[in-house]
Symmetry: C3
Subunit: 290 residues, 3 copies
């Protein structure tokens, strides 16, 4: 994993951002009612086409049509008891890649049951904050002795503390995991990437994480899970860092952030500062970029 690998990753990032802009891929979701509009607008801003559903047959039809799906567990509603098992089983059997965001993990009998079922169906990308990723590894029985401390929807643990859980989940699913925090961590279980940027304002805007999951789904229609998760992470780090300088509060930050998502070029996404390492081990020399 030398500088050739880094250049390969950057080249893939450019390719997927461009491919999405030029094809406007359909990216359906089941996502929480709090941030559902923000998820859709973020997906549209990067070049995707959003479609949100609740009913079982609609979820199946959309997953088939898009060959991708996003499930955000933020607000569980009764119909999800029918919808989520049906669409997740279909996707596992038909090899349709999907993204999950385990928001709210730790609360609610139905949410926990559905999140457990998600593990059996191997999501291509899992995105969450540090505590959520640690809690999910525990729930799936692959977390070792580590314990999560979730408070409402917020993390109480650092991204570094979640790296082991993230790597374990990625190996378990065969996909990628993205841990959001001050410095984000994205892994496919073989290589791990730290992505830099973002803004303190993001924790004052509801849906900063939820919408990132939706954007990763958009990129997943045109690339493998690692590149999709990294493209989403990078475009968020770039757009948020730029919006921070333009904003005087969390209200204007939201507006500038979406403007920046809309303006982001393939080059902007590829050039976000990253550290890349082999998962088993020690930091590889010379791989800091950006």
């Amino acid at each position: 994993m030398g500088s050739a690998d880094i250049r390969h990753i950057q080249s893939e990032l450019r390719r997927v951002v461009d491919a999405v802009r030029s094809t406007n891929p359909l990216a359906p979701s089941i996502t929480n009612t709090v941030t559902i509009q923000f998820v859709a607008n973020a997906q549209l801003a990067v070049g995707g086409s959003a479609a949100m559903v609740y009913m079982p047959d609609e979820a199946e039809a959309m997953a088939r049509a898009a060959h991708a799906f996003y499930i955000n567990f933020g607000t569980i509603e009764p119909v999800y008891e029918q919808t989520l098992p049906r669409v997740m089983t279909l996707m596992h059997q038909s090899r349709i890649p999907f993204v999950i965001d385990p928001v709210g993990i730790g609360t609610g009998e139905l949410r926990m049951r559905l999140l457990k079922a998600a593990g059996n169906n191997k999501p291509a990308i899992v995105r969450g904050n540090a505590s959520e990723i640690i809690a999910l590894a525990q729930l799936w029985g692959i977390g070792g002795t580590q314990h999560a401390v979730v408070r409402g929807v917020d993390t109480t643990q650092s991204v570094d503390e979640a790296r082991h859980a993230a790597n374990s989940i990625a190996r378990f699913t065969g996909g990628a995991v993205a841990v959001s925090g001050p410095v984000d961590y994205v892994t496919d279980g073989r290589i791990g990437v730290r992505s830099y940027g973002g803004s303190e304002f993001q924790r004052f805007v509801t849906g900063s994480g939820c919408s990132l999951g939706g954007v990763m789904e958009v990129y997943l229609t045109k690339s493998n899970p690692l590149i999709a998760a990294l493209a989403g992470t990078n475009v968020y780090n770039w757009a948020a860092a730029k919006a921070q300088e333009q904003s005087s509060g969390s209200g204007s930050f939201s507006v500038h952030f979406v403007d920046n998502l809309y303006q982001a070029t393939p080059e902007d996404v590829a050039r976000v500062p990253m550290d890349i390492e082999a998962v088993e081990g020690e930091e590889i020399e010379g791989d800091a970029v950006g």
Copy 2:
């Protein structure tokens, strides 16, 4: 349909915009969770009062109180199986005019059943993109041999391709149909109006169409279906064209767009460039205005 007719339409547009501003009419809705806040804010910005409901008895009470209603089919939820047939039957029997937006047509057994029932209850205004209007005419058995190609919530067909379906629906319901696109088409089955303006940004903002249906409902409380559909179409074309010049992305576009809806005067709405023609036929000479 000469220049006297055009002046009459412009005069009616001025009147309805002003009447709404001075009376703040109640305009209740059942609308999708993705864009529900945008629908309400757009209705408020033009001078209406928004009220969204889910339960059957609430829908009936609101339809009676407002003598108008808006049903957007974007996100179907289980309770709609009870609510929509009850409120649509009431409105048909009590001659309460209502607007529908058939978002998502083509997907979902319950949505298709409810959309079919909508036809029996003769909505005063149908608003959609070209593919949705063609698909609805098909579903209602009045579309002839034309076939729709819906992709998620997006159109794959042009407004001109949907003119026949729009005219057929308007004659079937006795109301008006509005087809949204680069150049919008509004008809009551006797005359057809092309309205110019708008912005490329609209397709990057979720709810640009949904909220237009809600604004048409506001105007429908004070005018006939054709004028209400045209007033909504025109105020959107004016506000979006102006917002495009003020914006640097889809985030700021949304903000400026709502500001412009708030600022739009009766004169702004009446002066939007329009072409007016008799439906049976050929373009009438000399009827381009604005």
Copy 3:
């Protein structure tokens, strides 16, 4: 209630605003789908942590974890028939303080049944417009001969007309009541405070009231009901008045308003102009502040 009392109230306002900023308290809600994102963003902007739920066991878990809750009756959904009685009973029995906003009172059998049950469980804060407060006092049998006139979600009565109902409710619950209007009125049944400021734009932005209830809940985690209701009312009056000068329509007003909530200092909140009086009676001399 002389100037020492006023200084005590201002000191408490400073304390609660600061305490929230430094502890980021969890503030869970059941709230309507129209304005749910705005509620969360307003709660975050003042320093709270938002979490919205629908399911009965999640509501109970969140109320226990946060020792506070907010219930907004704006859009009633079927699952509320299970969720609301369970969480309200728990909170009453466990002395967990909660805020209610009786939006939509007068419409819907289930809403009226749940609002009646809310009275038995004694909410710490009730927030509404004048007509809603008068209607709630009627529903709870403590309104005397006064009659409410609600139109959709809008008031048709003045804040002064609702003072008697507000005082009655506060004495009945042992908590506080906030009546929103051109001049707001907040009372705990013993003293009544008029708070000045705000903006005409607020009635053009959906959720101006709903989000205020959520912000009061945030403050309620760190103070008594009167101070929490007053802190929320004051920060809204300050942020809205400032936003009015910065805005050219209801779209930009929303953005500036959230920026101002984010920027508001303890001193800004304490210094909002207020009149304070003993409830039984006559205006106390010399108590105008700000």
